[in-house]
Symmetry: C2
Subunit: 221 residues, 2 copies
DNA sequence: AAATTAACTAGACATAATGTAAAACAGAAT
DNA sequence: ATTCTGTTTTACATTATGTCTAGTTAATTT
């Protein structure tokens, strides 16, 4: 990782600018290259026998140069961020908004868990590799953390749906964090193991989540 | 990461061996260097403002050369493995054997959870960084996986303690994996968050673990 | 059709990391 | 004193990311 010693100017500020120039069809070509490199990068991440994820290799597969790749996405980190957001878009994460609007707390919880588990299960290997890379990349880690924080807000909203008057703030926070941990990629991925069925995983997560979220009541043993 | 093109010989097999040489005081010095570099590496990992963990830096802090470090531990991966095992030794993981010999299943579960949580809680930052590094280091990943497998055996043993006749093999495996996931560093670390008390964490994990391990009985809603 | 503009290419370069190799050096045992 | 061994010094190889620059190409404007 190399850091810029000086912020410098972002753009050379148009050296001459004599004549206006609105790129029309060229923008399309550029966008195509951008999409193609995104696909190539995803393919490379999904390729189990490709143990390294390098810009050179991505560029090669996309049919462009490494430098063009740097022009399109500013850095490796930003490219990975783009992949992740693309995955979220394809993985149906927009269902999350609808899930949060469920009135019944159990239904809301179930919808959230369902949405998340489907997302985690789809492109599981890629997600795992991306999160692995975040371990040694502070910027990427921050980007993933920001997205995870949205999930934490959702968990908070679910917990609120079950709230009873007597609960303290620290207990609410504990419930939220527990639900957050139970629905994390790491936990779900570990629970799924090599080849466990998604219904078994979902059932287990739901069962644990309800234990967390339903307030402890005095029970007769 | 550089791969050996040829396995070569591990040791030059004593080129001449004319005269026996039992290094007495020098062995001590060497061992001291080894211990000192281990401590230095642990310190470096614990140093929150040191964002990179390089052999150069470790050697510098230990007062030896980078090459000597390579002589002592063969590679960066092996050095990290040594740190991890040292942590386990200091973290009281030997209590695990006693925990497994508890007769009462609930006591056995409680002893395992207690042992693990104390271990995870101690040197939490270092453990997190080591596991993060394992993400981009196949050898280290394999080493940690082997140690985690021992934990899985323990989980299996706990699950067996609760076993009822009617349970299928797949259900046993699911219980084991769920307990394994609940007691993983990743889950516990996430649940602990920034500054949650260990008793809250332990209580939550125990509650979830018992839900998993106690066979589902027909319940009157 | 000619001039202009911006993206793309190709190649070199800087930096930093792991890991290897060989020769010189210094301490310890016989 | 000689020999053995671990340490040091120095150098080299490899592989990443990221930058820079000059040249090329193709679309757009006049």
């Amino acid at each position: 990782m190399l850091k810029k010693l000086v912020p410098a100017k972002k753009k050379p500020a148009k050296p001459d600018c004599k004549r206006p120039y609105s790129l029309g069809a060229r923008q399309q070509l550029s966008d195509e290259s951008k999409q193609r490199s995104l696909d190539a990068a995803r393919d490379l991440l999904a390729d189990s026998k490709a143990d390294t994820f390098g810009m050179q290799e991505v560029a090669l597969r996309a049919g462009i140069t490494r430098q063009t790749l740097y022009n399109l996405y500013g850095s490796k980190t930003k490219l990975i961020e783009a992949i992740f957001d693309d995955l979220a878009r394809r993985g149906g994460m927009q269902r999350m908004a609808a899930a949060m609007q469920q009135r019944d707390p159990h239904a809301r919880l179930a919808a959230m868990v369902d949405t998340l588990l489907e997302f985690w299960n789809r492109d599981r290997d890629i997600t795992r590799r991306i999160r692995a890379m975040a371990a040694s990349d502070p910027d990427l880690r921050a980007a993933l953390r920001a997205r995870d924080e949205r999930r934490r807000m959702a968990c908070r909203h679910v917990v609120d749906g079950f709230k009873l008057p007597g609960l303290s703030a620290t207990q609410l926070a504990l419930q939220t964090d527990a639900l957050f941990s139970l629905t994390s990629f790491e936990f779900v991925d570990m629970l799924a193991g090599e080849s466990r069925s998604t219904v078994e995983v979902a059932g287990t997560v739901m069962r644990l989540a309800e234990v967390i979220v339903v307030p402890a009541r005095p029970q007769n043993k």
